[in-house]
C-alpha cells in the first residue's frame, strides 16, 4: 500500500512537476478543471429547475430543464399535430421491420433488400407521415425535430449508397463516356458546399419545374442531400477499389466474369469490408450535416431550438435547448461510431469456419 502511494507520488513528480513551469501549469489546469466542473455541476444539476410552466421558475445560475421537458414533444416530433403523433412511431417501426430480412441467413442477395427498401421506405413515409386514404394530410412543413433529422438521415444514406457505388465503378470504367460522366458528377458535387445544393433544391429547382409539376420540398431536399452524399461515398469506395490487388481482377477475368458480376460477386464484397470504417465516418458527418436544412427553413432537431425558445413563456432558453440537441446528436453519432467499429471487427475477423459437413463420397 505504502509502495503504491510512493510510486504514485513518483509518477506525479515525473510527469507533472518535473520543471517549475510544468508545476505551475499543472496547478493552473487542476484549478481550471475544478472551477469549470463545479460551475457546470451547479448549473446543470444543483441549481437546475426540472418542473415549471414558464421561464418564471428559472433560478439564477441554474439550468431550466423544465423547458426541455415541457417542449419534449416538439424536440421529438416538430410541429406534427398532437393527435396524429402516433403515426410517427408507426412509421419508424415499419421502417425497422424492413431491416429484418438483412438478418435472415437464407437470403443470399441482400442488395435486393436494399433495392426494395428504396421503394418501400418512401411509400411508408408518404402514407403514414404525409397521410393518404384514411389518414389526415399533414404538410411536410410540420415535420420537425428528431423525426426530421431521422427521415433526412436514413433516406439520404439509403439513396446515396447505390448511387455512390455506381459512380465509383463508373469512374473506373474503360468506357470513356461513362468514366467522364462519373468523374464530372463526383467532382462537381464534391466541389460545391451542401448549403448551395440545399438552396438550389429549395429555391431554384421549383423555377425550372413545369407548371403544375410541384415536387414537395422535402423530396427535393432528400434528393439534393443524397446526391451530395453519394459523391463523397463514391470517393471512399473508389479508394477501396484501388486497394484490391490487381490479381483479383485478373483471376475474375480469367474465369470469365464480366464487369457487372465481377464487381458484385468478387470486388465489392472485399471493398465494402475495407471501407466500413470510412463509410461509417462519412455517414456520421452526413447526419451532422443534415442540420444545415435549418437554413432553408426546416426545423430539424437543431433548427427547432430557436422557434421553441422564442415562445414568450420560455424566452432565452436557447442554451438549454442547444445543449439538449447537442447531447442527442452526440448519442446518435457515438452509437453509430460504436456500431461501425463492431461491424468492422466482425467483417475483418474470419467468419467461423462453416460446419464441416464432411467430405461427400
Amino acid at each position: 500500500m505504502k509502495l503504491k502511494i510512493k510510486s504514485a507520488i513518483d509518477f506525479l513528480k515525473k510527469e507533472f512537476f518535473n520543471t517549475p513551469v510544468n508545476a505551475v501549469l499543472t496547478v493552473l489546469m487542476v484549478w481550471l478543471v475544478f472551477k469549470l466542473g463545479f460551475w457546470f455541476i451547479n448549473w446543470a444539476f444543483i441549481n437546475a429547475v426540472w418542473t415549471g410552466e414558464s421561464r418564471d421558475v428559472a433560478q439564477a445560475g441554474g439550468a431550466t430543464w423544465a423547458f426541455i421537458i415541457k417542449k419534449l414533444r416538439f424536440f421529438m416530433f416538430g410541429f406534427y399535430p398532437r393527435e396524429q403523433i402516433w403515426r410517427i412511431p408507426v412509421t419508424i417501426i415499419l421502417m425497422i421491420f424492413t431491416m429484418i430480412p438483412y438478418f435472415i441467413k437464407g437470403i443470399r442477395h441482400k442488395v435486393l433488400i436494399m433495392l426494395a427498401q428504396m421503394v418501400i421506405w418512401p411509400l411508408i413515409i408518404m402514407y403514414f407521415l404525409s397521410g393518404g386514404p384514411g389518414l389526415e394530410k399533414v404538410s411536410s412543413n410540420d415535420w420537425g425535430g428528431l423525426t426530421l433529422t431521422f427521415i433526412l438521415s436514413v433516406t439520404g444514406l439509403l439513396y446515396s449508397f447505390p448511387v455512390g457505388i455506381l459512380m465509383a465503378l463508373g469512374r473506373r470504367s474503360e468506357l470513356p463516356v461513362i468514366k467522364g460522366l462519373s468523374i464530372a458528377y463526383i467532382e462537381f458535387f464534391r466541389g460545391i458546399p451542401l448549403i448551395t445544393i440545399l438552396f438550389m433544391s429549395s429555391v431554384v429547382v421549383p423555377f425550372f419545374l413545369p407548371n403544375g409539376a410541384a415536387v414537395d420540398k422535402m423530396v427535393r431536399v432528400i434528393i439534393g442531400m443524397s446526391i451530395f452524399q453519394s459523391a463523397y461515398l463514391a470517393e471512399v469506395i473508389r479508394g477501396g477499389l484501388q486497394s484490391i490487388p490487381k490479381g483479383q481482377y485478373e483471376a475474375a477475368d480469367a474465369l470469365g466474369f464480366k464487369f457487372g458480376l465481377q464487381s458484385y460477386l468478387i470486388i465489392l464484397p472485399q471493398v465494402l469490408k475495407l471501407t466500413v470504417s470510412n463509410i461509417g465516418g462519412i455517414s456520421i458527418s452526413f447526419i451532422k450535416d443534415t442540420t444545415l436544412v435549418l437554413i432553408i427553413g426546416m426545423f430539424d432537431l437543431l433548427g427547432i431550438v430557436s422557434p421553441l425558445a422564442s415562445d414568450t413563456d420560455w424566452l432565452g432558453m436557447e442554451p438549454e435547448g442547444l445543449i439538449f440537441a447537442g447531447i442527442l446528436y452526440w448519442i446518435i453519432c457515438f452509437a453509430i461510431s460504436r456500431l461501425t467499429y463492431k461491424v468492422e471487427k466482425k467483417v475483418n475477423e474470419l467468419p467461423e469456419t462453416a460446419e464441416m459437413t464432411g467430405v461427400p463420397e
Binding site: 490487388p245 490479381g247 483479383q248 485478373e250 483471376a251 475474375a252 477475368d253 480469367a254 474465369l255 470469365g256 466474369f257 464480366k258 458480376l261 460477386l265 468478387i266 464484397p269 472485399q270 469490408k273 474470419l350 467468419p351 469456419t353 462453416a354 460446419e355 464441416m356 459437413t357 467430405v359 461427400p360
Partner: protein, 266 residues
Amino acid sequence: MTDTIEKAIPAETPAASGADEDFIISITDLNKWFGEFHVLTDVNLKVAKGEKIVICGPSGSGKSTLIRCINRLEKHQKGSINVMGHELTENTKDVAAIRKEVGMVFQSFNLFPHLTILQNLTLAPIWLRKISQKEADKLAWKYLKRVNIAEHAYKFPSQLSGGQQQRAAIARSLCMQPEIMLFDEPTSALDPEMVNEVLDVMVTLAEEGMTMLCVTHEMGFARRVADHVIFMDEGKIVERQVPEKFFTEPENERTREFLKQIHAIS
C-alpha cells in the same frame, strides 16, 4: 511501314482458321508493346490438342506476357491469336468465348479471400455455366479430391499454406472445365517444400491429356511432362525443342547460356 506489316498478316478468313484446325491454339506474328518497349516480337506458336508446352527464359523475356495475351489479360497490338477457332479480337464475345475454354493459374494464386475454398470453386460454375448449387458442389468436390485438399473445403484461403492455395486455384480453374490450362509461374511464389505438391497435381493433369502452356523454371517438370520446351529471350521465341534435345544439345547459344545459369544442362 506499319501498314505493310499488317497487310502481310493473313486476313481472318474462315479458310485460314480452317487450315489451323489441327491446332487448338495458333498464334501468328504476334507483336506487343508496353509503351515504347517492344515486349513481344513476331511470335509464332502453334499448340496441338493435348500438347504440353513449357516456356522458359530470363525475366523480362515476355514469356508471361505471351500466355497472358492468350486469354486477353494483355492486349496485343499486332498479329493474330486463334483459340479453338475463336479469333481473339476487341469483340467481347470472342474474349468471353476464349476465356470459357482457357483456365489460368497465377503465380500469386489469386483466390478470392472473402469466400471459402468450396465457394471459390463453385462461384464461376454457378454464375457463368449456370448450373445448380448442387451440381456445382459435386463438381467442386470432385476437383478438390483430385488436388487433395478436400479436408480444407470449408476454410478460407488465408488459412491455407501457399501450396494448398495454389492447388485450390488449380481446382478452381478446372471447375470451369477448360480445354486449355495456362500456368504463369505457378510455383515461383511457393516455399521450396511446397513446390512438389503443386507440380504433382500438374503432372497428373498432364497425364490426363490436358492441353497445357506452362511458364516455369522447374526444369525437372519440363523434362518429365513437356512435349516441347520453348526458350524465349527479348520477346522472341529463340528455340523450340523436344525436352531431350533441349536439355542435352540446345541449338542456340543463348539457350545454352540460360541453361547453364539455371544449372539445368545435363
